[in-house]
Each structure stands twice: as structure tokens, then as C-alpha cells.
Symmetry: C3
């Protein structure tokens, strides 16, 4: 199971300094790595651990090479090369193909090669699973759902009617995809449910975090384009569209019909209102609140800085006076300008 | 399965302009609707799609009638009529009555007529399910829980001891009702659990979203009154009371013993502190933070507007100076008033 | 099943005023308690209910004793004594030991005495459960996971590979522990997954709320130290460390590699950025956003106060002008100082 450092270099990039034949069996941090393990240095903050590392090799940038006491794999992007090396050395544990005896399958399910369906999973009628799909214990897949090849559902995932997943999608435990959107008409103070009739389209190479929820469209579909990564406890409302390769960190909520661009990076705890658009390549820092469209790429924020509570109490109430303060400030400026104007000519005399 | 436009009008309101006999089989958006489908126009933003629609009929307000190229169902509230029509044309898929062979039932469960219990569901002792209740796959219902007629539990719902659901309650997948509230006494730095001994009462016609959590009361019950709608990933702490017909959007948290009025509309990502009251008919916009009681109906907000991060960094730190700025502003005003007072009399001379 | 008031006093502290032999069978609130029930008064807000209580006894501070119409258990910390009394009088419902016939167990699982495994639970290979562990219905425990004695998993809990729970840990329904952290390298706009290879260590006496998620470490472990209490829908990212006896309220998110001190009290809806440290004994009020380390113990806040939306709209936009306002204020101060300086000497003439 060992791979030589030279082979890692030829498969994943980087230039070997030291012993190309050095056998590598796993990855570990600079501090913990031992013989047969490869580590990486991509954050200057961890440079201090380099000198003492007992890793067999380290993936690093050229600038750190002089300080490296062991074999090195030198590359401009150590974190990326580390990702590829770690994937190669630590493949996910294999799932035994086959349908567990306790799983319950509806009629007309079509399964690809080497599909694995775990204990107590429940599949409705007409479910289609691509080759090598893995369905974890206790998952529920409703009628007619399609899951593309090499996708993995961890434990207790729910895929409701109208959900289609692409290939290589990874859905973590407890995620619910295709539940009803939150749509009601109001009839003299009472809510009347709008039937939620659309579905959810999830593209290839998407990852969806634990206990994240993605609602089906009301009419039409909710769409998660290819390569999107959603962290845990993210909430995606009905008819949202998330552009390809966008990443959204934990606890963020996106309201109905919002359209988010491609390659966005959205921090944790962000709130995005409904019926707006966010351009491609937008970055939102943690806890930002987006209540209007963002039309230009760039980085946006609205998180409020913490303070000792005693200080905060004073500033906190002033926020409610801000408009008043701004008006008074403008008034003072006018007054002073007037005073200066009336003063200066006479002052000169 | 088709219903004539005229029949829809007589059942759900509105006045037909065009062919009352036109057969309608389903609903769709203005853009996607085709023959046999009815659409609606309630948001002026979508007016541009009206002229080109290929729907067989459109539900709309009188003011849009002149622009409608097809049959029309004219009403003052198109969204509400659409909701009723969509419910009639798209009833939820029927569940086969009966208890699945893999479900596990405790002693003394009482089931109404045409109850459906899905695969791998687990019911404790003395559970009572009303007529036509549907329990989805993998649900867990603990001892003594009562579920009213026509209620639906989607997949993997957990109802803990002490939970009582009214009639026509819809609970989405992964919701947990009746888990322990978060209550501890502190004993010299260590937390001592307060046993959570109350229950959860959920009224008729309540909807509870995917992965939402509603804790049992500590003593006494947590109460969700009739007609309340909770979106996904909402957290309701112990001993909260939510008034009838209030709607709460996704990712909102309500802390212990808060009392929320009737007919409130609470946006997403809102935080409501414990032990406070919110009046009836209050609206809270997204991400508002409520740390004191709200005694008057109306709309309230505290979400902070986003900016480009560079600009935000400058403004962000000024928030910590707000109280200081307010004091300095007041001081300047006093100074200038004094200067003017001393200046003007002498200035006139 | 009744315990005398005197026995409660000797076991849990406090001094009896009244009948030591009075039999107590349960706890209830001041308003609802009846014969055989004991209540408590620890919040002056509820003092008004004391005079009319029909409890057989009340746990209270000395200052409230004169107003107490019934037997009293007098102590400096009524809430703590109440917690102990309630635990004694209301033990959790007993679970029948044994593995349910529908549970699925992998090879080489080791079970302590009187372990209970509920219906449809799934245990992987080599799982170790300590004495009296209770595994609720539908739980999934992956290969090699260890659970310490007297721990309880409610319904539908998922423990992924690499998770180790201490003794007396209570995990509520729907919690997911040990899911993948959110780690990706970027390869020209596409995300490349960093395999998440670490685990999760959970200390003794930890409580984890419903639908809360705790991710495994990337390299190394995520660590929840002993006595930590996590409420519902909390998100703990990879490689976070939470110090002993810290409590975190609902809907709070902690980003990767954050280190939180001991005995902290963190409110609901708080956001904590990654790669920072929070000192011991820090308190954060609800919805605070922590984007830098906190090095001193104390209470911190950043929640923004709500206002009527109309007022808020005015103040809200001024936040974007704050830096400009601060500069203009400074400029005015300089101007006025200059005017005064030039004015005063000449004004005197």
C-alpha cells in the first residue's frame, strides 16, 4: 500500500528534493507525522513546526525548502497537491456491493453495477441508482428519484420525489433534499398551502453537508449546479439556483428564488433574502446579510464586531440615533460654514 | 381528471372570461404552462410573461385582464385562488393504508381508519393515531404520543414522549419534536441537568419544516397553536408559546419561554431571546434580533446592510466609537451654540 | 415512590421549615403544583405565584421564606437543589436491556452489561458500547466507534467512524457526529476535496442537542471536553476544541479550528470564525459575531437592536456612512477649535 514519493510527484505534480524512492503510506500533520507519512506546509503560521517534523516528506512551496529537514515535494500549490495525495492514499472505505436484507425496495427500481444499499434503507418505486452508488443505512429515497454513478448517501439521508442527483454527488447524514418549500397564500389571517410541485436538480460533483436541507421548487425546480459544495445545516429554499462551483459554509440560509452566481464563496451564518441575484465570483464573509442583489464580483460583509457587553450597551442604542446624528452633523457643518463665512471677512478687517 | 374552468371558478371563486368549459388538468408557471394547464399572475414583476403564455387559462386581477391572451379567471386575490386550485388539481400522492411489515409497534397502540405506517417506523406503547394519519419511513414515535386525524409525518420524523399533534398537521423529514430543552443549574462551574418533564402541544393545521426542532417544556408544555407554519431548521426552545397562524421562516431560533403572538410573520435567520413577549400581528424582517419584548403590532428590523468588505472594515470599527461620536457631537453643538450666542451680539456691533 | 421532604433535604441540601415528613412524589411549577409536589422559586419574577401555591413544599431562598404559605426547603441556590430533587424524583424512563430483533450488528461488537439497542439501529464492525449504554431506534454507529458507560443516544443519532464518546454522554435525536469537515483546495475554480481523516473525541458528561452536527477533524481530532453542553442545531466544524463545562445555545456555529475555553457560556445564534481562540470564562450574548480571538474573560456582544422598520431604514443606510461621519466630526472639531482659538483673542479686543 506504500507509494514512492517519486510516483506521487509524477501523478500529482511537484518536484522531489531528496529520496524519490521513499515509501509513503499516509498523510499527517507536521507535528504528528512519522515514518512513512507525508505532510504539507501551506500556511506560514505552521512554519514553526517544519524544523522538528518527523514526516518522511513534506509538500511545500520553494521558499520553505531551505528549512525542510526531510524529503520535500516542492510545488506552487502545496494544499492542492496535498489534497490529491491524501485522496490517493486514503480512499473512502469500500462498501460491500449488494442490497442489505433489511432494505425495502419498491417496484421497478433500476440499479447499476456494484451498487450498495445499506441496512434499513427504503427505496420507493422506480428509483434509479447509477453504477457504484452507495446508499447508507436508514436512507429514504422516494418514488422516481435518480442518483448518478459513484454518488454516496451517508446515513439517514432523505431524497424526496422529484430529486435528481448527478454523478459523484456526496450527501452527508441527515440531509433532506426535496422537502416542500415554504409557500402559503393568506386567507384573512389563515395560511393556505401552495402545493410544492417542482423538484430538485443537483449537478455532478456536488457535496451536501450533514442536516442540510434543500427544498423542491414550487413550480419548476430548485437547481444546485455542478461542483457546488454546501456545508452542514445550510438551508436552501424553493426555486433557488446556485451556480457551478460555489461553496457555502455552515448555517447559511438562502431564501426562495434567490439566484447565486458561479464560483462564489459564501461564509457561515450568512442570510440571503429571496428573489434577488448575486453575481459570479462574489465572496461573502461570515454572518453577512444580503437583502439586495449584488451585481459586481468582489467581497462583501456586514458582520458586526463584538465588544465587551458594557461598551456595546452604550454603542448599541446609538445605532437607533444614527440618522438623527447624521442630520445633526450636517446641520453643524452648515452652521460652521456660515459662521466662518460671516466671520472671516470681518475677521480680516 | 380534468376539471372545467367554470367548475374551478364556482368552487374557488373568480369570474371566468372566455371558455368556461375549457378543461384544466394542472398548474404551471406562465412561462412553462401549456394546453390543459392554468397559471397565475399575482406579482407585477411577472407581467411580462403574460402576453406570450401558452397556458389554457390564467388566474389574475382585473387590471391585467386586458393583456391576457387566453382564458382568464379574474379575482382580487389570484395567489389565494391559485393555492386552492393547485390543491384540488395536485392532491398529495395517496399512501397505501396499513402498517408495513418492517414497522415495529409497541403495545396498546390505537389506530384510526386508513392509517398508513411506513417501513422501519417505530411506535412505542400506547401511541394513538387518528384516522388517515400517514407515518413515513423511519419515523420514531415514543410512548403515549397522540397524532390527530389526517396528519402526515414525512420520513425520519421523531416525536418524543409528551407530544400531542392536532389534526391535519404536516411534519417534514428529520424534524424532532419533544426533545429535551436546554436547562441546567450551575454547581461551581459544572452543569447539572434540569430534567425536562413537560411536553409539546401542536394545534390543528400546523406545518413543521425539515430538520426543525421543537423542545418539550421543562415543567409545563411548549405550545404551537393552530395554523402555525414553521419553515426548515427552525429551533423552538422549551416552554415557548407561538400564537395561532404565525409563520416563521427558515433558520430562526426562539429561546426558552418566549411568547409570540398570533398572526405574526417572522423572517429567516431571526433570533428571539427568551422570557419575552411579542404582540399579535408583528412582522420581523430577516435576521432581526429581538432581545426585548415587542408590545405593539408593526414591522421591526435590525439586519445590517452589506457593503464591499473594504468599505465595511472602515465603518465596522466606527460602530465601536458610536457612543463616543454621539457625545462629541453633542459637545460640538453646545460649543457652537455658545459661540453663536457670544458672537452674534458682538457681531452685530 | 414518595420521598419525605426531610430526606430530600439531607440528600440534596437545604433546611426544612415545616413538616419534614411531608411526602413528595414529583416536581411542578408554583402555579400548577398540587399535593405531593414540590416547586421552587429562584426568579423574583415568579414571586407573585408564591402566596397562592398549592405545592406541598417550595425550594427557595431565605428572603422569600416569610411569604411561603407551605413547607419550605430553604437554600442559597434553589435552582440547583431543584435540579437534584427533580433528577431524583423523575429518573429517565428505563430502557429494556437487550438488542432489538430488528437491529443490525456488525462483527466483533463488544457490549457492556445491560446495554439496550433499539429497533432498526445499525452498528458497524467492532463497535464498543459501555455498561448500560442505550442506543435509540434508528441510530447508526459506524465501525470502531466507542461509547462510554451510561451514555444515551436518542432516536436517529449518527456516529461516524472515528468517534469516541465518554461516559454519561447524552446525544439527542438527529445529531450527527463525525461527518466530514468542510475542506477543499481550489484548482482553477474547482473544489478538490481534502479527505477528512480525523475523528471526534467527546468527553464525559457531555450533552449534544437535537440535529446538532459535530464534524470529524481533517487531520487530528475535533475535541469536545468533559461537561460541555451543546443545544439543538449547533454546528461544530472540524478541528474545533471546546473546553470543559462550556455551554453553547441553539443555532450557534463554530468554524474550523476555533479553540474555545473552559466554562464559557455562549448564547444562541452566535457565529464564531475559524482559527481563533476564546479564553476561559467568556460569555457571549445571543447573535454575537466573533471574528477575532478573545483573550480576556468577560462578557461580549454584538447583536444589533431592532427598531420599527421605517426607523431602521433610515439608520440602516447611515451605517454605510459611519466612517465618513466620524471623519467629518473630527474635521468639525478641528475647525471649531481653530475658530475658538482665533476668535477668543480677537473677541476680547
Amino acid at each position: 500500500l506504500a507509494v514512492s514519493l517519486g510516483e506521487l510527484a509524477s501523478r500529482f505534480g511537484g518536484e522531489v528534493h531528496g529520496d524519490r524512492g521513499c515509501p509513503i503510506r499516509g498523510v499527517a500533520s507536521l507535528e504528528r507525522a512519522g515514518e512513512g507519512e507525508i505532510s504539507f506546509l501551506s500556511n506560514v503560521q505552521f512554519r514553526r513546526h517544519l524544523a522538528a517534523t518527523r514526516a518522511s516528506a513534506v509538500i511545500l512551496e520553494p521558499r520553505f525548502l531551505p528549512d525542510c529537514p526531510v524529503n520535500a515535494l516542492v510545488t506552487a500549490d502545496p494544499y492542492l497537491v496535498f489534497a490529491r495525495v491524501a485522496q490517493a492514499l486514503h480512499p473512502p472505505p469500500p462498501a460491500e456491493p449488494g442490497v442489505h436484507a433489511t432494505a425495502v425496495l419498491g417496484r421497478d427500481c433500476r440499479m447499476g453495477d456494484r451498487v450498495s444499499v445499506g441496512p434499513h434503507a427504503v427505496l420507493g418505486e422506480g428509483v434509479r441508482l447509477g453504477d457504484r452508488v452507495r446508499v447508507g443505512p436508514g436512507c429514504v429515497i422516494e418514488d422516481g428519484v435518480e442518483v448518478g454513478a459513484d454518488s454516496v448517501l451517508e446515513a439517514g439521508v432523505v431524497l424526496h420525489r422529484g430529486t435528481r442527483l448527478g454523478a459523484r454527488v456526496l450527501v452527508h447524514s441527515g440531509a433532506v433534499i426535496g422537502g416542500d418549500g415554504f409557500g402559503f397564500a393568506n386567507d384573512r389571517g389563515r395560511w393556505v398551502k401552495i402545493p410544492q410541485l417542482g423538484g430538485v436538480q443537483v449537478g455532478d460533483d456536488v457535496e451536501i453537508g450533514s442536516n442540510t436541507t434543500v427544498d423542491r421548487g414550487a413550480l419548476g425546480d430548485t437547481v444546485i449546479e455542478e461542483g457546488v459544495k454546501l456545508d452542514n445545516q445550510v438551508q436552501i429554499a424553493h426555486n433557488v439556483r446556485i451556480g457551478a462551483h460555489t461553496a457555502i459554509a455552515g448555517c447559511t440560509g438562502v431564501a426562495g428564488s434567490a439566484v447565486i452566481g458561479k464560483r462564489c464563496a459564501i461564509g457561515g451564518g450568512v442570510g440571503i433574502s429571496g428573489h434577488l441575484e448575486i453575481a459570479d465570483d462574489v465572496q461573502l464573509t461570515g454572518t453577512t446579510f444580503v437583502s439586495q442583489s449584488i451585481t459586481e464580483k468582489g467581497t462583501y460583509s456586514s458582520g458586526v464586531p463584538f465588544e465587551p457587553t458594557r461598551a456595546w450597551r452604550r454603542n448599541f442604542l446609538r445605532i437607533r440615533q444614527l440618522d438623527d446624528m447624521a442630520r445633526r452633523l450636517g446641520e453643524l457643518e452648515r452652521l460652521i460654514r456660515a459662521m466662518r463665512d460671516s466671520h472671516e471677512p470681518t475677521g480680516d478687517t
